[in-house]
Amino acid sequence: MRKYISIMLVISFLTIFSCAQKKGVKYLRTPIPSRSNVAIIIDCPNNIKNVVMTKFMQRGFRVKALNASDLYSLNNVFDIKDFKYIAYKSSSKGKRFGSDSDSLLSTQKSYDNIYKLHVYNFEANKAKILSEMRSTWDVRYLILLELQDWEETSWARAIDLDNYNLMYIENYPAKYSDNLEDVVDHFIKGATRRR
């Protein structure tokens, strides 16, 4: 009986431990030098945004006012999901040009093709915008952050706008003792030096 209880306790302990212990990942190609020009994209209330920007400024980064001049959240921005409606509106659906099945199929295929083109063009346009960000705003690194509560995984990513490549990624499962500043500090340390 004792043996049984001990085994059950060990299994319960391991189960609880494995649930709480999420593994992080980190890769840093080259450390981001402090005093570099960075733009930070984070979708959170403005008071939290201020804490994040302050932390970066305290570490010597020149934080450009991108994503800091908006009062709206990124969720309010027009979404590609609406594009499907636009595509169907401009197609021949519902009109009888040839047989119905042909018309419907070619409409669906045309929509699929337009969607594929949209994806390629959307990514190309983003590259052009980010290239302007480098030339007009003098941003060298674009940093993306998402901060989560305890037990959830916060993550960060940095893009070098000089060579169009990702140069830092990190997933960090926040600890119970971490506060907002600790998590931001963790990412700054992660992006600025190899561990």
């Binding site: 593994k23 040839g98 083109l117 980010l130 995984t153 990513r157 169009y164 490549n165 997933n171």
Partner: protein, 351 residues
């Protein structure tokens, strides 16, 4: 009792394995030249493919002569070429899951170019690819190589890869995952020294949802790719004196839209890919289009070589089996394992 259950299970196993076996039918490979001396190859090629596969393919293989016998009963004859519209009916008559046909064209320096079409009855899709080899010295190697490609294509994984992914190159991914999951997915690529372009990575969340992303299941970059056979259905635009100018304007607008996004789509898409490559300073070597399933434990992969703008890798059902407890990392590792392989792996050639 145990004996009865075991016997029953064995019978069910045998029965189910038979059910999953597919029928692969070979039509002719049309001689594209005017030189009749090459006509014998129209039958030799499919028969050779069938013979090469006979020992290794689990399903049934039909040679052109067998198909002809079946068609004769229906008062029909196996043709040297088929329009896409005719394929579903043909496969119904011969009761096959896959139908392989195509053409060959002898070229300079004793080379021969073979264009193969594989019609997949279940999905009504047509996979096309091209292979070239030496007419005299490498003809058997060419036949073996193509036969291995058939074997890899004729199953639910639809595996086709005609080029190796070179080490230390620059990869770009467009996927339907985002946030920390994308970081987990990238991690194994970084560990293997690949660079990852920031395509899709400047967003906090992916804009690409599962349903819309299905569009990438079929991509075609001539001469290789997958497409619906109904693609080439001709649309009739019936209009005449009874239409007013507003209606005719609408019809013309529709015709132009279809021309751009349906009939001339390969050309339109090629421009878009060139535009994408230029936007990233021609820094991307391979563009991967990867769709994760709902449970995020399997993916569908399509890969475009951004130098040639050709699709070089098709594969479905790459799973998340692996060493880590992250599906994303395991899937990435399983993709990397495939980098040096070709779907005609028996005869490795340099990139």
């Amino acid at each position: 009792m145990i004996k009865i259950v075991t016997t029953l299970l064995f019978i069910i196993f045998i029965f189910s394995s038979n059910l999953s076996a597919n029928t692969l039918a070979f039509g002719y490979l049309k001689n594209e030249t005017n030189n009749k001396a090459f006509n014998f190859l129209q039958v030799i090629f499919p028969n050779s493919f069938a013979s090469t596969l006979k020992s290794s393919y689990k399903g049934t293989i039909l040679k052109p002569s067998t198909i002809n016998n079946i068609l004769k009963k229906e008062g029909l004859k196996l043709k040297y070429s088929y329009s896409n519209k005719e394929l579903p009916k043909l496969l119904k008559i011969i009761n096959a899951d896959y139908f392989i046909y195509g053409s060959f064209l002898p070229q300079q320096n004793e080379n021969i170019k073979i264009t193969i079409h594989m019609y997949i009855s279940k999905t009504k899709e047509l996979f096309t690819f091209v292979d070239t080899g030496k007419m005299e010295t490498e003809i058997f190697k060419l036949v073996d190589r193509i036969a291995i490609i058939f074997k890899n294509l004729a199953n639910e994984n639809l595996y086709y890869k005609n080029k190796r992914i070179i080490k230390n190159t620059n990869l770009a991914f467009i996927t339907n995952i985002s946030r920390q999951h994308l970081n987990e997915f990238y991690f194994p690529f970084f560990k293997k020294n690949f660079s990852i372009s920031y395509v899709q990575n400047s967003d906090l969340n992916t804009h690409y949802n599962d349903i819309q992303f299905n569009s990438f299941t079929q991509i075609f970059t001539s001469p290789v790719g997958l497409k619906n056979v109904e693609d080439e259905k001709d649309l009739e635009f019936q209009y005449g004196t009874w239409n007013n100018s507003k209606q005719i304007k609408l019809i013309n607008k529709t015709i132009n839209t279809l021309k751009l996004y349906y009939y001339d789509f390969p050309e339109t898409k090629n421009k878009a890919l060139t535009n994408l490559a230029n936007a990233y300073n021609n820094n991307i070597d391979y563009l991967f289009l990867i769709k994760f399933n709902k449970s995020h434990n399997k993916i569908l992969l399509r890969c475009i070589d951004m130098r040639s703008k050709l699709v070089i890798w098709y594969q479905s059902n790459i799973d998340a089996s692996g060493k880590t407890d992250s599906n994303y990392q395991n899937i990435a590792s399983n993709i990397i394992k495939q980098f040096p392989k070709l779907s005609s792996k028996k005869y490795k050639t340099k990139n």
